[in-house]
């Protein structure tokens, strides 16, 4: 089981100091000129990351993992290098009242501090489309996760035939 703890400083947590001329370099309009925003760090613990080997004939792939944040946040996106896949989306598989299962792109997945967010088959997952080439067992791909806080983190995802 792969496990990586990733410390990420959020954009929103930049330390800002009011200057004598009353201006600031805040990235938002809501920070008062005399406010000091204390830098904080959110850590994301990732385990069980894997991408399924993609057959030669398929141009789609999938990535699964568990992400545990140290503070409340939300997963709002995922991406990979265009040399790997032309399009990457976060998807959710759901079951309707009539028993049908649906899969759709999802804009944001809330995350609770200390609680793993599971990206698993049949649930939330990262879909890779327009694969430039097949995902081969034994290789790995770098997946960039983007969070609502502005944090981003890169996860090294091994390509496997079966779940780890």
């Amino acid at each position: 089981m792969r496990k990586a703890t990733l410390a990420v400083t959020t954009i929103a947590a930049l330390t800002l100091f009011a200057t004598s001329c009353g201006s600031s370099t805040s990235s938002t309009d809501t920070v008062a000129p005399d406010t000091t925003v204390v830098a904080t760090e959110t850590t994301f613990t990732v385990d069980g990351a894997w991408a399924r080997t993609s057959p030669m004939e398929s141009t789609v792939g999938v990535v699964y993992m568990n992400i545990t944040p140290s503070a409340d946040d939300a997963l709002v996106g995922a991406s990979v290098d265009m040399a790997i896949a032309g399009m990457t989306q976060v998807h959710e598989t759901t079951t309707a009242a009539d028993g049908s299962m649906g899969m759709q792109e999802i804009a944001s997945i809330p995350m609770t501090a200390g609680t793993p967010l599971a990206l698993v088959s049949g649930g939330f997952h990262i879909m890779l489309m327009k694969l430039a080439k097949p995902l081969e067992t034994g290789t790995s791909i770098a997946v960039t996760l983007t969070f609502e806080s502005g944090a981003t983190t890169i996860v090294d995802v091994p390509v496997l035939t079966e779940a780890p």
Binding site: P55, V62, H91, G99, Q104
Partner: protein, 204 residues
């Protein structure tokens, strides 16, 4: 927003309770009181570099046939199901040699036999590649399984595919004796196939 609807009867998962004195009580798939019979369904089986041949949805005498409706551009559920099936056959070992496999593409315009055959072989090397471009014929076949599918293109130009996500286990009479929904995993496939193989070996 991309939406791909995949129809299954996951909510209909039920443990078989028929008191017929067999091992059916432990099947994790759906066993109907009035099982479907799909022997009326014949679709083209395609081969790379050779003419197609009619394929009827029933197992060879004394064997089992697993039928799955899917497509190669399916990112999550189809590959998971195929991988689970592969794992189950591997776990069961040589006694699973009596389990035949048929994959019916619901996306025949993109899924040519040249794509399907190697795609399926990358999971298990004994799939019958079932493909018809006659969508009425495909629809009639699906109706026999109480399945459905569709292929549409949304406003953004993205092809959306819907399909039933069940794996059907068919006997040599064409009777659907077990329906495995997505989510049973390799354990579920192993459990049910092993029981049904044992039943055949016991003459039940």
């Amino acid at each position: 927003m991309k939406l791909i609807r995949i129809v299954s009867f996951a909510s209909a998962v039920a443990l078989a309770t028929a008191g017929c004195g067999t091992d059916q009580q432990t099947l994790v798939g759906l066993v109907r009181d009035n099982p479907l019979n799909v022997a009326v369904v014949t679709l083209p089986e395609e081969f790379v570099g050779a003419a197609s041949a009619p394929f009827t949805m029933r197992a060879k005498p004394g064997e089992l046939l697993v039928v799955y409706f899917g497509y190669t551009m399916c990112p999550d559920l189809c590959p998971t199901t195929l991988a689970d099936l592969r794992s189950a056959l591997k776990r069961i070992g040589s006694s699973s040699d009596i389990v035949d496999l048929a994959f019916v593409t619901v996306d025949p315009l993109r899924d040519t036999v040249d794509r399907l055959a190697p795609y399926l072989s990358s999971y298990v090397d004994r799939f019958h590649v079932i493909r018809t471009t006659d969508m009425v014929e495909l629809k009639h076949a699906e109706e026999a399984f109480l399945a459905n599918s569709s292929v549409t293109t949304n406003a953004a130009g993205v092809i959306e595919v819907t399909h039933t996500a069940l794996a059907y286990i068919v006997d040599d009479m064409g009777t659907v004796i077990d329906e495995l929904p997505f989510g049973v995993g390799a354990d579920g496939f192993t459990n049910d196939l092993q029981i049904l193989i044992n039943n055949i070996n016991k003459g039940e």
